[in-house]
Structures are given as C-alpha cells and as structure tokens.
C-alpha cells in the first residue's frame, strides 16, 4: 500500500551507513538509472508462521496454487540450440519436455505418453520424432501423432486425443519459461514493466551457461531460496567477505511478486568499517577471488573506496574481455562489481550486471517438502555474431560433497562460499522443526525481501 511507503533509508540502522546510492554516485561510468530507484516499504516486524516449511498439507496447497499457476524457468534456450533438442523439467511430481521444434520455436509438452502414461524423456537428447520406449508410439516434434503401431486397436481415440498435451511456454532473455495454467497471464505481464525495463541493461540472449551444478539440500525449498535473497547472513556464514561486502547497507526493492537487492562490493561491512581501509578491502577481495600468480608484484595500491571499486571493476572488465572477447568498457563499476540479485518469483535468483551472472534455482525435491533441489549456474556473455557452444549440462553433486573439492576451475574461487551456504542450510530445517521455535523473526530491513516473498506465497496459497 502506498500509505505504508516510508523513506527506506530510515530503516537502515544506523543512518550513518554508506548507502549503495552513495557508491553509485562515485562511479567512473554512467550507472543505469533504475539502480538508484527505490521500491520498498516497511512490512512490519511480526513473527512469521513456520507452517510453510514443515507441513505436508501446506506443500499440497503450494502444488495446487503456486507451482501449477506460476511462470517458472524450465531451461535456457541454449540448453536446446538445435531442432529436435529436448530437455526435461521436473517439479512437484510433474515432468515437462521442452523441445525446439524449429530454429526459432520452442514448445513444451507434458512428458507423458497418451497410451499408458509412460515418461517419454529421462533427461535430454536430440530426436527426429518423439517416441515412447514402451510400445513405440511416436509423435512429430509439434506433438501431433506420427505413428501408432496397430492404430486400428484404438478405434475410440482420434489423433487429437492421442497428441501430446501441450504446456504453456514463453521466452524472455533466452530463458524458457513454462506454466501449467492454460489461463495464465502472458509472461511479460507476469514479470512486469519494471523488471523488463531494468533488464534491458543486461541482455542475456547471447550468453552461454558455463556451468550448472545441482545438489539435494535437506531443507524446504523456500528456506534455501531465502538464503540467497538476503545479505544479513554474511556476518555469520561468510565472514571472510566482510572486508569487501557492504552487507547491512544493501538495498532491497519489491517489484510485484519479484524482488531485487543491490549489494555494494569492494567496500567494507559497516560491522568492521572502522578497522578497514580501502586497501584492506581491495586486498581481501583479490585474495579471495584471484589466483596468487595473477599479481606477482603485489595488489594494486588504492587510497579511497571509490578508487578500490574502480580498480576492481577494471580488473573484472579485463578478465572478462580475456575470457569472452566481450568489450564491457562502457559498463559502470557497479555493473561490473556489485551483487545485483533479482528474484523471479517463485524460485529463481539471477544476478544482473556482469560481475557474476549467476542463476540460482530452487524446487521441492519431488514432493518432499523437507528437501529441495538447489541448482547454481553462471552465464558468460558472448560477442555478437560469435557462435556459442551448447550450454554446460547439469552436474549433480553428492549430498555431502564439497563444492571446493570439485575439479571444475569455475568453482575455484566460489566453492568455499557455496560450501558455507550449504552448511547453514543443512542446519536450518532441523532447528526450525523444534517445538522451541515458534517461527522466523525476520529483520525489518535486511530480510524484507524474504518477508515480501512469504506474503506473496501466503496470498497464493490462501486463494484456495
């Protein structure tokens, strides 16, 4: 409600914290105007109910009123770049086959044979026709019947009856979204004008998914999502980031169902602001995120925080150019460096800008509301016209496997951070189930994206 709208800066305690806007104003390049915009208000301080994380009945309501009603990211277009490429997207006991039926057409079908209900596609492949392994029924890529052995034996069924059942499918920024609800509003309306406008700054159509890891985590999917939608946990989970992470002055905004945070990096946490010089921030950042051999003569010297941010942003521009050939000279320091996290309701968090265009996706583990599938992927921009390889496929990690122990070079610098997140997520469900815990007590400012999200879920679930 507009009446509830107050100056969000008032909610940052103490008011002396340097806001992200302050850093944006000292940028060496023009910053997209939308990064200055504020769309946030006080959501109160009530203790939240915990039912949504521990109740099987609540999960069933979510299945009916959330998962079967919302637009959700099924894959990237570059997961299925060639005609006939298809990939399965599974959620709450449903499976959808997303298939490229023509060079610029992608469609989605329920992943089930109309004969006996056999699952048609296990993971991903390329086919000329869709076929069922049980009795060799087959369909054209558009879902129409191609061949049914002993067709005469099914006289009561028309070809239309036997065609694959289509699922709504729309695309945006090379994400392929699906929606089980035939009457759902168009995807662009669902995302809303603000999200569409903001993301014109960061086109992802010509970006390749360079890695894609998944892990089953023993907590409700919403708890895992929340772990990546507030910055407050840095102080407990990622203390090594405090010298270069302005955690409690991060900015949080609401856009319809969706949310955004902007976290300034290359500047210290207000928790240790008094004992951190600009050089300390830069040193800690580069110690964490660069190989020791990259700076044989020591780290660059800086004397102000804007300078530290500018130097780090320049280093990132250089390394991205080297890795991808893309020229990001015109992009602001903030877009190169900061964590700009958009939550596309209900289950994806995608970072804007170019620092680390990471995508987190969360889903219940089948219909188990006490565990979830967490996936992390990253995009790399490609120069216009350059041919992209197919996206990296999903690699599932074992339940107790550490990201930091994986051989993939992409995890060299972020593996430890991810392991810290997993460690915290493993504990949260257990503690939350306790009779000694009545419900989450969310921070008014730093955890308002979480509160906003839970209100949207409660609204949808309550519609039943």
């Amino acid at each position: 409600m507009i009446a509830d709208k107050i100056d969000p800066a008032d909610m940052r305690k103490p008011a002396s914290f340097t806001s992200p806007e302050t850093y944006l104003k000292t940028d060496t390049r023009p910053v997209p105007q939308h990064m200055f915009e504020e769309s946030t208000w006080d959501l109160g301080n009530e203790v939240m109910p915990k039912e949504g994380y521990i109740s099987g009945e609540y999960h069933q309501l979510e299945v009916k009123h959330l998962w079967k009603k919302v637009w959700q990211v099924a894959c990237r277009e570059n997961d299925i770049p060639e005609v006939g490429d298809r990939i399965a997207y599974d959620v709450v006991g449903q499976s959808v086959m997303v298939i490229r039926t023509a060079p610029d057409t992608v469609r989605a079908f329920h992943n089930t044979c109309q004969h006996r209900g056999t699952r048609l596609l296990e993971k991903c492949d390329n086919v000329k026709h869709i076929s069922c392994p049980f009795h060799n029924w087959s369909w054209n890529l558009d879902g129409s019947v191609h061949n049914i052995p002993a067709r005469w034996d099914f006289p009561g069924a028309s070809d239309a009856d036997l065609a694959l059942r289509e699922v709504r499918c729309e695309r945006w920024n090379a994400f392929v979204f699906i929606n089980f609800d035939k009457d759902a509003q168009p995807l662009e309306n669902y995302l809303g004008p603000d999200i569409l406008r903001h993301w014109r700054s960061w086109p992802r159509a010509h970006s390749r998914k360079t890695y894609h890891f998944g892990m089953i985590v023993p907590c409700n999917w919403k708890l895992a999502l929340h772990g990546f939608n507030e910055i407050y946990h840095t102080v407990g989970v990622h203390p090594q980031g405090l010298p270069f992470t302005a955690d409690c002055s991060a900015k949080y905004d609401f856009y319809g169902l969706h949310t955004r945070f902007i976290l300034s990096l290359g500047v210290p946490s207000p928790f240790i602001g008094e004992t951190t010089e600009p050089q300390d921030s830069l040193d800690a950042f580069l110690s964490q995120y660069s190989p020791p051999e990259a700076f044989p003569n020591g780290f660059p010297q800086v004397s102000t925080f804007p300078q530290a941010r500018a130097v780090l942003a320049d280093l990132l521009r250089g390394s991205l150019r080297q890795m991808t050939g893309v020229d990001l000279t015109q992009k602001s320091d903030a877009e190169m460096l900061d964590a700009i996290g958009y939550m596309f309701f209900p289950n994806v968090i995608h970072w804007g800008g170019y620092a680390l265009p990471v995508i987190h996706r969360f889903r219940p583990n089948g219909n188990d509301h006490r565990s979830c599938l967490w996936e992390i992927m990253a995009l790399a921009p490609y120069p216009e016209g350059a041919k992209m390889e197919r996206d990296a496929p999903l690699v599932m990690l074992e339940a107790n496997e550490r990201f930091a122990s994986r051989p993939e070079p992409e995890l060299r610098f972020i593996g430890e951070v991810l392991d810290q997140d997993v460690h915290a997520l493993r504990l949260i469900q257990q503690g939350l189930e306790s009779d000694g815990f009545s419900g989450p007590r969310l921070g008014n400012y730093q955890e308002r994206n979480v509160r906003h999200f839970e209100r949207q879920v409660a609204k949808l679930v309550g519609e039943g």
Partner: protein, 107 residues
Amino acid sequence: MLSRVTVEPASLTFEVGPDETMLAAAARSGILWPTVCKGAGACKTCYFLIRSGAQHFSPPTPREQQELMWVRRRHQDVPEDHVRLACQANVSGDVTVFCKGARAAHA
C-alpha cells in the same frame, strides 16, 4: 604478570594479563580490533598471524581449531599454528603479531 603485545603493521603495543584474551586486552587499551561477534569465537574476523613468540601462546581449543580452518587456507605461507583468534588466545610472554585491521581508536 603482564605480557607485552606488539601489533604490526600499525606498530601498536598493549599489555595483556594472564587470564585475559588478546581481544579484551586490546579493547581495554583503546585499540580497535576487527570483531563482529564481540568475543564469542564465532565470526573469525579477529584473527591474527604470529610473527614472534609463538611459544608464549595458549594452545588453541578444538573449537578455535575448527573456526580457523578457513582462515588458514588464506594464509598457506604461514605455519598452521601461527594463525589464531584474538578472542580465544591467551599469552604468557612478550609477542609480536600481525593484524591488518587493528588501529588506535583515536586514529
């Protein structure tokens, strides 16, 4: 008996009693030492590196050892037992340590 602690790179000195942690003694002496959890042994931001006098430090508890694991990975050029938490370590002799964030409060 008091021990003298010299802190690099800011060239600070302070004295610490036998039952006092380094962090508590630094605060008593007007030194700003990085900490978030104020001595609970949880945030790890108060860690320092031992430059001399390693033999004068109390041995780390298993809990401190555990907390130090991630810090040690960032300082692999330093002997493992030369990385400690100021909120946990006691000293009984003069030592020199390195803590980048430590500063005089009035500075």
